[in-house]
């Protein structure tokens, strides 16, 4: 299993907002453990999906130069369950971004209907060192994440 919880970006406006899609499939191992008799998409992994969507949006806003770490889940609320065959969309926008950190708000959609809210805060860890040092290379944004957003950035340049 790969630790990537979005399949593709559907919309991406640099520095502003993004929409990512996740198709939930019974071929995914985790659904068989959560739960075998009644598989549902764990809310924690939907928080992670939103964190990846919003994290890439925040990272791209500073050209992937900052190490963007999820620092706080300000709000996570889910009103309905998500099951295999459903399509999730993570809609997120940047509410606030500074050299230190960023705040995003987001809606979780299931087959076009809003079923949840996930508001997050990210830290740019090199700007919040507090005496700690981190490796120079950007271990947060690996090739896979950047490739997801690449088509939108190429279109922008054209």
């Amino acid at each position: 299993m790969r630790w990537i919880w979005i399949d593709r970006f559907k919309e991406f406006e640099p520095g502003k907002r993004a929409v990512a899609v996740k198709n939930v499939s019974l071929a995914e191992d985790h659904l068989h453990d959560h739960w075998d008799a009644f598989p549902i998409m764990p809310c924690s992994l939907m928080v992670e999906g939103m964190a990846q969507t919003a994290g890439i949006l925040v990272g791209q806003a500073r050209d992937f130069k900052e190490k963007v770490i999820l620092a706080k889940v300000a709000k996570a609320q889910f009103d309905e369950i998500v099951v295999p065959g459903d399509q999730i969309e993570y809609h997120t926008e940047i509410e606030h971004v500074t050299p230190d950190a960023a705040v995003t708000k987001g809606s979780v959609m299931r087959n076009g209907e809003q079923i949840g809210t996930v508001n997050l805060m990210f830290s740019h860890i090199d700007q919040n060192l507090a005496g700690q040092e981190f490796p120079e290379e950007n271990f947060v944004f690996t090739g896979q994440f950047e490739r997801l957003v690449a088509p939108f950035l190429e279109n922008d340049d054209a």
Binding site: H96, T98, D100, A101
Partner: protein
């Protein structure tokens, strides 16, 4: 804007930022000790106050940084005279009465109370 009005908005802001009950937020409550704030929450609180009051809060103005990691300001785990003078100059919005008695840096949290935030915001909305 009166101090009572400012307090009510600060209270709402803290209730949301720290997931608290209304009655937990009293003027004398300390952010870390009584309200359970962690380091990232301080930044979150600053962002939310900026939005709630439509003000700008420059980094380090409400919650000063670069004090405890400066060797001129801290000796044997306590603030030096120079450190105390610097902190007082940078936090005119805080009440130093208790902290001055025992300026152990572990007690610095006593300075960051709900009233400290209210005092700070008052200087911003008044000006």
């Amino acid at each position: 804007m009166t101090e009572t009005e400012v307090f009510e908005i600060v209270k709402e802001t803290l209730v949301e930022a720290l997931a608290l009950d209304d009655d937990e937020v009293t003027a004398g409550a300390t952010l870390t000790g009584d309200l359970g704030a962690e380091s990232i929450d301080f930044l979150d609180i600053v962002f939310r106050l900026e939005k709630s009051f439509d003000i700008k809060i420059p980094r380090g103005e409400l919650f000063p940084d670069n004090i405890v990691n400066n060797p001129d300001f801290v000796k044997d785990g306590s603030l030096t005279e120079a450190g105390m003078a610097e902190l007082k100059a940078r936090m005119p919005h805080a009440d130093f009465t208790d902290f001055e008695q025992n300026p152990d840096i572990n007690n610095m949290g006593e300075l960051f109370t709900v009233q400290t935030i209210v005092n700070y915001v008052m200087t911003k909305v008044a000006g």
